[in-house]
């Protein structure tokens, strides 16, 4: 029996993947990124339909519950994304400074 949460996850995954597909068609993301997103959303659908798969995978890593693995992986991913954002912002800040310096003049 399929739970309501499974249906929500599947619908969301399909929606999210369609967004990724549109981005890919507009060439806003590379094909590597597109494949990455495809893998992520397909695995989300698989796990939603057959929840046992997630515990199989997590058992392989020595973690008891699938949900735990999901939380661990998510946290790692979020940290990585924050790191990337931090560097991006830092670069943007340096560029702003260059512009400010360029337009500054002796009064």
């Amino acid at each position: 029996m399929v739970e309501i949460i499974s249906i929500i996850i599947i619908l969301f995954a399909l929606f999210a993947h369609s967004r990724a597909y549109l981005r890919f068609k507009e060439r806003k993301i590379s094909w590597i990124e597109f494949i990455l997103w495809t893998i992520i959303w397909i695995s989300a659908i698989v796990v939603a339909l057959i929840p046992e798969t997630s515990s199989k995978i997590s058992n392989f890593f020595g973690i008891e519950r699938g949900v735990d693995l999901l939380v661990y992986v998510s946290i790692i991913l979020i940290f990585y994304l924050i790191f990337r954002l931090y560097i991006k912002i830092d670069q943007a800040e340096q560029n702003i400074t260059k512009i400010v310096r360029k337009v500054s003049k002796e009064e």
Partner: protein, 225 residues
Amino acid sequence: MMDPLIIIPAFNEEKAIADVIKDLKSHDYHNILVIDDGSKDRTAEIAKENGAKVIKHIINRGQGAALQTGNEYAIKNNIEVIVHFDADGQFIAEDIKNMLEPLKEGYEIVLGSRFLGKKPINIPFEKKLILKGGRLFTKLFSNISLSDTHNGFRAISKSTLEKLKIKQDGMAHASEIIDLIKKNNLKYKEVPVTVIYSDYSISKGQGIFNSLRIAFKLIIRKLSN
């Protein structure tokens, strides 16, 4: 005798800047450049009224950014020697003479130190603790031992300036400069200077929390390079 360009980064320093410039002039330093780092008060006007050159950042970019603007001005205008000086009245112009001396002996950069000989005036305990931490951090981060790692008083020769490109816009530039000294193997010397702690200068200084933030910034930059 070399006539140094005194570079003073200033952000909202209308209360202190006039006295700082007057002190410099009374010691015969007339080549003064104030970098007004997007002040919202009358810092730039007051500096100009007192006879300093002023370059204005349209928005606040931080002390490191302001110093680099001054350094680039010096390079462009072929200035032989520059001095970094604070706008909040912590330093005294009398010390500049001693700071310039080692440059004549071939040192490439001279760093002011408040812990060599001259006693810092009214230094608060928290400040002492932060500076100790800064020393330890510098030892680990850049492998260089200085008595005072976070002192904004510096004298630098022109040839050195081109190797000292400050990329840390904020207060992390002090550590960055030391790191660049180590990287470029610059000949440096520490010289005792007086640092005066007034309620005003303390309010403008760095707290413990901010110091940790600065350390974090430096580490991330090192990791991402």
